[in-house]
């Protein structure tokens, strides 16, 4: 039964995010499985590994923390292959981890019955991913079939396009902000690649600032643990409508912004006290790190998001979010520009900012913030939408795409669409 019906039952989405790796088949519902996009290389010479009977070289997935060794070379062995969305062509370790993660994901769901002839895999990469990443990933899918048929056919789509597909919006600007980077991508049926802007800023930048805030408030010991800092950021971070006004309000109304965070499963409680106004800095930093208040952090050694070149792509460090969208849209045809401004979609975990009724008019959601920033820069008729469950919208787009593309539609490099067949 290798037909359209078989394909529809066996679509499998994989979102290779900069921090999280989301995966699962169409039959899983609306929420994919999530593990960190990382792998741990076991030291082959480790005596303990031999004694304990650890028979593999790479560990990925939910069990990974069980294998971490308390060693100085942990940072060298614990690898996040897609920190910037791009893997260097010759980065053997990173590709090994991607291979292992992909295998882990597919094997988690592959049925053992004989009717199963492999998944129709829709993978999603950063829009800035170069062609060799597509080629390498297609090669990995083929290699995985040597032991057992896991991939019947595969296709790869850029993450912003997946978001647009999930929202059935053919003309829009998708801003995908994950842990390691932010991609601004105008779409008119296909991504307008020469107008894509990448920012060297994402959730990790807000984590770094949160760690500094924690240090200033006397929690320096906790600030070293990235996972904990991330949780604190998610609990306390606020996005101000206007930063100066929000700080002034917070200093005068400490009781309204003060919050105590308890870390589940521990005795740890965090209270910023008099410094509770700094909660607004965390959200602002993601949208605009140019405010003078951040200079005091830079002067004390917090790294300033820098412009970097990875492969052929420039990642801008300090460009504010509204400016980067305007710059991107202005690279498109004038006729298209108003349509793009009228549909800006924000996606990715970095746009999940909380508000509360007590802070109405002071703290805002990401869509409201960006609309204000765009208006201040003279762009009218802007409509910004935050995707529902922004963390999963790329994976959902993968599933929607795989379900719609006919099973016999062959991959074409010139259009970057269709299925690469492994039968």
């Amino acid at each position: 039964m290798l037909s359209e019906e078989y394909k529809k039952m066996n679509v499998f989405g994989i979102d290779y995010g900069t921090s999280d790796f989301k995966y699962g088949p169409i039959s899983i519902g609306e929420v994919p499985e999530v593990v960190e996009n990382r792998g741990y290389l076991i030291d082959g010479n480790s005596l303990m590994a031999k004694i304990m009977g650890v028979g593999r070289e790479i560990v990925v997935g939910k069990d990974l923390p069980l294998y971490l060794e308390a060693r100085e070379d942990l940072a060298e062995r614990l690898i996040y292959p897609m920190r910037n969305g791009i893997i260097e062509k010759n980065d053997r370790k990173a590709w090994l981890i991607i291979r292992e993660l992909t295998k882990y994901a597919l094997e988690s769901f592959a049925p053992s019955d004989e009717e199963f002839k492999g998944f129709y895999v829709v993978a999603s990469l950063a829009v800035i991913a170069p062609r060799y990443m597509y080629e390498e990933l297609f090669k990995i899918f083929g290699e995985l079939n040597i032991e057992r048929m896991l991939v019947r056919a595969a296709t790869i789509i850029p993450q912003p396009l997946a978001v647009a597909i999930a929202h059935k919006t053919p003309t829009c600007v998708v801003v995908e902000s994950g842990h390691g980077n932010t991609q601004v991508c105008p779409i008119s049926m296909y991504p307008i690649r020469n107008a894509v802007i990448a920012l060297n800023r994402g959730g990790s930048s807000a984590n770094i600032l949160t760690a500094e805030i924690l240090k200033d408030c006397g929690y320096g010991d906790l600030a070293k643990e990235e996972g904990l800092v991330r949780k604190v950021k998610e609990q306390i971070g606020l996005l101000p409508r206007k930063l100066d006004e929000a700080i002034e309000y917070a200093k005068k109304n400490i009781d309204k912004v003060r919050v105590e965070v308890k870390i589940p499963g521990t005795r740890i409680k965090i209270d910023l006290g008099e410094q509770s106004w700094t909660r607004f800095l965390i959200g602002e930093y993601v949208f605009n790190p140019n405010h003078e208040i951040f200079n005091s952090y830079f002067k004390r050694g917090m790294p300033r998001p820098s412009d970097v070149k990875i492969g052929d792509t420039y990642f801008y460090g300090m460009t504010d979010l509204a400016e980067s969208i305007i710059e991107s849209v202005e690279k498109c045809s004038v006729e298209l520009q108003p349509h793009l401004y009228s549909k800006i979609i924000l996606s990715g975990g970095n746009f999940n900012w909380r508000t509360s009724p007590t802070l109405e008019g002071i703290a805002v959601t990401s869509d409201r913030k960006l609309e204000l920033m765009m208006k201040e820069k003279g762009v009218e008729n802007v409509k910004v939408t935050v995707t529902r469950d922004p963390t999963y919208s790329v994976w959902r787009g993968c599933i929607v795409y795989g379900y719609a593309v006919p099973y016999d539609f062959k991959w074409r490099w010139e259009k970057m669409e269709g299925w690469v067949n492994y039968a």
Binding site: G29, E30, F109, P111, K168, I399, A404
Partner: protein, 165 residues
Amino acid sequence: MSNVRSCSLTLVCRFYGEEGGWRKIASTLNECGWITEGMYSRKDDVEVKCFAESNDRKEIILTLDMGRMDKILKIFRELVEALFRCCWYVDVYYHLRGSFAEKISEKFSVTDMEKVRKKIHGLEVLIEKKTNVNLLNISYRLSRDRVKSASKLHSEIIKEVIDVE
């Protein structure tokens, strides 16, 4: 992952011979008192979303927002009866995870078998268990004459879910 997220309901609707798509579903639901906005239709605090459409527009996947289980319990029959105005059949899928998966597995006496077929209230039900991701899928093909049976099964599943919550 919260409990609400750990239970979801998907309806795969097959239209009669002709093309249908979300436009057809939305107009049918509107006739039955639902209010459509974009890719969502709402009634009594229950929201149906167009998740995906096949390329030929002859099949569509709908998902239900599981925020209000009490309402989901009541509206199921009304919803599928509305869908049968334009659909030939509807494949119903419950996706249950974590504690929900464990509780429902117990209820339907599903062991560690990966796939089992059972007849429940006259419906041919397929129960698939993925132990390594703690996921349980319950699915069946629903035809117009089995709506009453499906409502019974739906009530049993959702009541268990509400109990776990």
